[in-house]
Amino acid sequence: MTSFAPYIVFLPFIGFLVLGLFGSRIKSEKLIGIIGSGVVGVSFAIAMAIFVQMVGEEPHARKHVVELFTWISAFTGTASSIHVVVAYQVDQLSILMTLIVTGVGFLIHVYSIGYMHGDAGFWRFFAYLNLFIFAMLNLVLADNFLLMFLGWEGVGLCSYLLIGFWYDRKFDVGGYAAGTATTNDAARKAFIVNRIGDFGFILAMLLIFHTFGSLRFDSVFNGAELMSIGNQAAFWITLLLFVGATGKSAQIPLFVWLPDAMAGPTPVSALIHAATMVTAGVYMVARCSILFALAPTTLQVVAIIGALTAIVAASIGLVQNDIKKILAYSTVSQLGYMFLALGVAAFSAGIFHLTTHAFFKALLFLGSGAVIHAMHDEQDIQKMGGLKKYLPTTYKTFLIGAIAIAGIFPFAGFFSKDEILWKAFSSEHGSVVMWAIGVIGAGLTAFYMFRLVILTFEGTFRFGEEVHPHEAPKTMTVPLIILAFLSLVGGFIGVPKSFFGNNMIEHWLAPVFEPASTKLLLIEEGVHATEYVLMALSLGIAAAGIYGAWKVYTKRPDIAESLRNKYTKVYSLLLNKYFVDEVYDKTVVGPTVKLSEKLLWKGFDVAVIDGALNGMASLVSVTALWFRKIQTGIAQTYAVVFVGGIVFVLAWLILK
């Protein structure tokens, strides 16, 4: 069955080709929808079959590699030169990711049939989505870094295409470019910021090839196992890889693109910017766990960046008013948690949170999509309210998602988040400070999520008469319900020992992370009393956050008002996302453009080089202007000189 792995990857690509080439001629939206979601559905089915087969195998025999053909190589036959094969690797980690990508992807495809109904670019949208799934599967199933990079860039491209899907629409990015930006500015920003990350990835690959002589995961990781902790090369490799991860997974300092990426259609935000693509960085770090295990310093950096991102993004989320932007910052924040987990060497905890996050964040985005759909493209939560009457299904599912992300027992988010917090506290790579940041972040998360829920669904209507909200069609609500169910029960795949579970996901993934755990001498811990205390504490803080939001936004709106007036500076700092965009614009973008135009182009190219050349040319012509006077035009004068020349030459010959 595992030999079918390439089909998982290529089916969506076939879908892309069919829709891309003939989509404009297919008139029926239904057919397009069926093709688009069908290929992903079949991929999911194959992945499921492979998964089932793998469950029946020995834990250490669950890795399968399918080689296809030679891709990039010098073809000189020299052993030391580069040789990269297109090959797919199915193991515990990649099959889990594949299931998430195809499963959640399939649901979102189905959802999109309803959401994109009537859009002129319907076929284009599905073609892009299929291409995205193809690229994402390349990323997760790749057996070497280069193929992973193909997927890595491919998802970036699809993200670019889909963010700018409505390329003729204006999009308010706020701040420095308010009012002038289009969806495409957001798309381009996403691509370019990602490229900065990719730069790190490329350099990391070069260094990996230089160090290990191969880009295959197997060879690299086997080589890495022989190295000792603190290896210099491993440090640089992991640091550069992490730069790549910060780009793709929107971590400090490259997180600025993700909120803008909300310019895309909502299913895109759900699929790419919540459930799958942005988690690629997490997946990659987890995949390279053994390399990271060799570099404790990098792990430290990962943990710090993750924790910082978690809290910073959550704080921004507190004051945003755009429903999707709140979710976007929430995503950034949750990704921060995942990196925090990875940074404290709790790789399976990170992947666990990635999984549950995929469920509830996709759910929240799709729910917000239903809201936006109902509100005729209104996204400002200040102009909503009381929607639960009109959108009962959406409301219920959305609420489940919100509880899940807030981390309330026994929803999915609770188990995964607490796993991370506990590891941050207990792991020798973690610390109390990190745990504290995580807990505060969790409280903020609960607060802003319920602010969002309350402002959107509770209270009174704050919109005009002309808006008539209506519940979404079946194609949209069914995926919502399924995802809500998953958000509810998804956590049970990782119930920790302290709850008398056996943490299935950790056991499933254990063989993948075994080398790293061995290297780091991680020991499986027993049940601690502290764990219960901490759990109760974080649960309490989350509950407090929810209560606070409920209190402020249903009973006492004046509190919010007075806080805003009291701390205007802080408020505007948060509202403007700490002015990061502005700082980047002033310090990097602006000066580069200025330098290029004024100094390099008009200064050096035109003035210096061309100036020198044209100067030489005019020197010649000025001299010539003077010398040409010799040319009288009278041939006889020339003849006289000619004769004189002969005379002198002869005289010289005679006298010599």
């Binding site: 370019i192 490329i202 050349l613």
Partner: protein, 523 residues
């Protein structure tokens, strides 16, 4: 008589047949002229395909060799033959020429006959340059090819065509004259050796050049390198390029960017490195630094251009920087990457110029600020533009990435460069390419349709089937090289291997030989 013996010559001179037939075609019959030009350029392509399929990738020597005495007293011969690199470039030339004609079918009306003849003559010169194995013959083709290009820019170009044409001509001529001197010097050096005779036969000179003293090597290398660096163009000798590109007609730009620029890098690999290995080793830092500066500089300047063609022209400076860096990494990956990158750049930049030409034909403007929302009116065109832009950006899965990555790998691991910084800085170019290409794409293609612009009234028609064919064929190869580059890389494997082996041997022998010389000086 075996056709293989003459296949290469047939490929070189096939365009001449077209020129002769055009000579007797009445000036007024535009259709016939276009068809004849196209058919003959396709014929050349078919011949080049014959070469491609008959070429033996396992054979390290020059193939399809043909030798005829030309000037017997000086041992100058009509000596042609190709290795994998030359093969790829010949196929590229023969591939791009018909597409350039096809893509600009209706662009030229004025003096169409002469124009078509010039394009065919240009093709002759270009194929000749890649096939020549005699330095004198090479020089003749090299110069001969300048003339049609000069006329193509000077007669069928834009506003400042004469300035651009003269600039192009003088720049290149200046370099090539120094090269001629070096060629003659090399020939005379051959005659000073024991039993030596004056010769310009490349294979003989490969052996002869081993005896060159280092200082002579350095001088001759510089003369050759200057000529090639101007052609590449290597920073800071690049300023002819934007002018020439902007002023040249579309087909001229396509061929100029697609093929002519490759002659510089081809020259480095064919002549500079194998003839003057020691000098090459010594000058690696200079050329690689210039290449890296070119990569970043070209990209930065491209970013702020207001004219689409100029933007593409500066992007060429950036891309060719990669090629030069790859060559001077002197690793198998680097050189293979450089060779495939030459082909890639030919395809993607050629296609970009075709695309720009298509929109220029419709709107008669190339200023980025005049556009906006073109994708709405020309969706198919926008798709092609996007694919080609992405190929130029170096998206994995498309051709640009293969070359760039191999070059980066080569530069990174190269013991000759000796520093990671080259690869790291070159990598910055990868970021910047995305910046300028996507920014341009956005401003031209996306956003709302501009009101009051030349095409505001929805008069802009999408590209025709003919144009789609021209672009579609290129896209096929863009994807092919991106996904399965082995077809092409295998052909040029021996070229890379030969050069690298030579360089490594010289490097190994470098120290003692140098010490020996120092000893002599002491006496």
């Amino acid at each position: 008589m075996n056709f293989d013996d003459y296949a290469l010559s047939a490929t070189i001179f096939a365009p001449l047949l077209g020129v002769l037939i055009l000579l007797f075609t009445p000036q007024g019959n535009a259709r016939a002229i276009k068809i004849i030009g196209f058919v003959f350029s396709v014929f050349v392509f078919v011949l080049s395909l014959y070469l491609f399929f008959r070429f033996d990738s396992e054979n390290p020597s020059f193939q399809f060799q043909q030798y005829t005495v030309w000037i017997s007293g000086l041992n100058i011969g009509y000596y042609v033959g190709i290795d994998g690199m030359a093969l790829l470039l010949i196929v590229l030339t023969a591939f791009l020429t018909p597409l350039a004609l096809l893509g600009t079918w209706n662009s030229v009306e004025h003096r169409l006959k002469e124009y078509t003849m010039m394009v065919l003559l240009l093709e002759l010169g270009m194929v000749g340059v890649f096939a020549a194995l005699d330095l004198f013959l090479f020089y003749v083709f090299w110069e001969a090819m300048l003339i049609p290009m000069y006329f193509i820019i000077g007669i069928w170009g834009g506003q400042d065509r004469v300035y651009a044409a003269v600039k192009f001509f003088l720049y290149t001529l200046f370099g090539s004259l120094l090269m001629l001197i070096a060629i003659l010097g090399l020939g005379f050096f051959a005659s000073t050796l024991q039993d030596g005779k004056f010769t310009t036969n490349l294979t003989t000179l490969y052996a002869v050049a081993q005896h060159l003293p280092l200082n002579l090597q350095l001088w001759m290398f510089s003369a050759f390198a200057l000529s090639f660096a101007i052609k590449v163009p290597l920073f800071p000798l690049h300023t002819w390029l934007p002018d020439a590109h902007v002023q040249a007609p579309t087909a001229g730009s396509v061929i100029l960017a697609g093929v002519l620029l490759k002659m510089g890098t081809y020259g480095f690999l064919r002549f500079c490195l194998p003839l003057f290995p020691e000098a090459s080793l010594r000058l690696i830092p200079v050329l690689s630094v210039l290449a890296v500066i070119g990569i970043i500089y070209g990209a930065l300047v491209a970013m702020v251009q207001t004219d689409i063609k100029k933007l593409v022209a500066y992007s060429s400076v950036s891309h060719l920087g990669f090629v030069v860096l790859g060559i001077f990494s002197m690793t198998e990956e680097g050189i293979q990457g450089a060779i495939i990158q030459m082909v890639n750049h030919g395809l993607s930049t050629g296609a970009l110029f075709l695309l720009v030409g298509m929109i220029y034909d419709r709107t008669h403007t190339r200023a980025i600020s005049d556009f906006g929302g073109v994708a709405k009116l020309m969706p198919v065109y926008a798709v092609f533009f996007l694919i080609i832009s992405l190929s130029s950006i170096g998206l994995p899965g498309l051709n640009g990435f293969v070359g760039e990555f191999l070059v980066l790998v080569g530069a990174f691991k190269s013991a000759f460069l000796g520093s990671y910084a080259y690869a790291a800085f070159a990598g910055v170019g990868v970021i910047l390419s995305a910046v300028y290409m996507l920014w341009m794409y956005q401003r031209v293609m996306l956003g709302p349709v501009r009101e009051g612009s030349l095409y505001g009234g929805h008069k802009l028609s999408d590209i025709s089937a003919r144009e789609i064919t021209a672009l579609g064929v290129i896209v096929v190869f863009v994807v092919w090289i991106g996904v399965y580059p082995g077809t092409f890389l295998k052909k040029s494997a021996w070229t890379a291997k030969t050069v690298v082996t030579l360089m490594e041997n010289v490097q190994r022998g470098f120290q003692p030989r140098y010490a020996e010389r120092a000893l002599h000086e002491d006496k």
